[in-house]
């Protein structure tokens, strides 16, 4: 997006953020459900890290 200093698609970012908030509630969940949600959150975080590294290569961790 022109003028966006972070160069990340805002629609995609908002969709991930909305889903992340939904995934944070654990009431009544089994341990497997919690682990699967953590897995999904971790995948989302990795997706965001990849997007940041793609657009800002200097942000890659050593």
């Amino acid at each position: 997006m022109a003028g966006d200093p972070f160069n990340i698609d805002r629609g995609r970012w908002k969709a991930l953020d909305d889903e992340q908030r939904r995934l944070l509630s654990t009431a009544g969940m089994s341990i497997e459900e919690k682990l699967r949600r953590g897995q999904r959150l971790s995948a989302q975080a990795a997706t965001l890290r990849r997007a940041i590294v793609r657009d800002e290569p200097s942000a890659r961790r050593p």
Partner: protein
């Protein structure tokens, strides 16, 4: 070589360890998640016993997972775990960390006895319980660990505190 940004795949890595017959307990971020603070994590952490026979079973699993050491980057070779307290490797299913058991209450038997049991479809495995997670986090003491403890306290109330050798005995001096 910079590490690849591969999602940590708990099901795949535990499946490989179960298939090899290795003993392990999931600790770290996924154990925090299992104890109700669901957050993202970038790796899968395991507590392993101080047992050379179990190391051989881990060798099989890590070879199957195409494990590599991070720095300097080189392929994992059977026997590499020997005498290591901590091993951090990347695999085709993400980053994995192996921590060798310590003194009680962070020995394998104690952590295993109080662990949860989970099954993601590839067999049953243990995930550290709240008291063990609190002990690991108190001992590590990094900002991430302190933040986890704050979140767990907000969820569970007062946390179970087991005295830790090398930490709490110094506090008594």
């Amino acid at each position: 070589m910079s590490r690849p940004l591969v999602d940590p795949d708990l099901r795949a890595v535990t499946a490989a360890l179960i298939a090899a017959g290795a003993e392990f307990v999931v600790i770290g971020g996924f154990a925090v998640i299992a104890n109700d603070f669901v957050r993202a994590t970038e790796d899968v952490d395991f507590l392993i016993p101080d047992d050379t026979e179990n190391d051989k079973l881990l060798d099989v699993a890590l070879t199957d997972l195409d494990a590599h050491w991070l720095a300097p980057s080189r392929p994992f070779a059977p026997g590499d775990l020997a005498d290591r307290e901590h091993s951090r490797l990347w695999t085709r299913v993400g980053l994995v960390d192996f921590l060798r058991e310590g003194a009680p209450p962070l020995d394998f038997a104690t952590v295993s006895a109080s662990a949860h049991v989970a099954d993601l479809g590839a067999g049953r495995f243990r995930v550290a319980g709240l008291s063990s997670i609190v002990s690991f986090k108190r001992l590590a003491g990094r900002p991430r660990d302190r933040a986890d403890l704050e979140e767990l306290r907000a969820i569970h109330g007062e946390l179970p505190i087991d005295p830790l050798p090398g930490l709490d005995d110094q506090a008594d001096d």
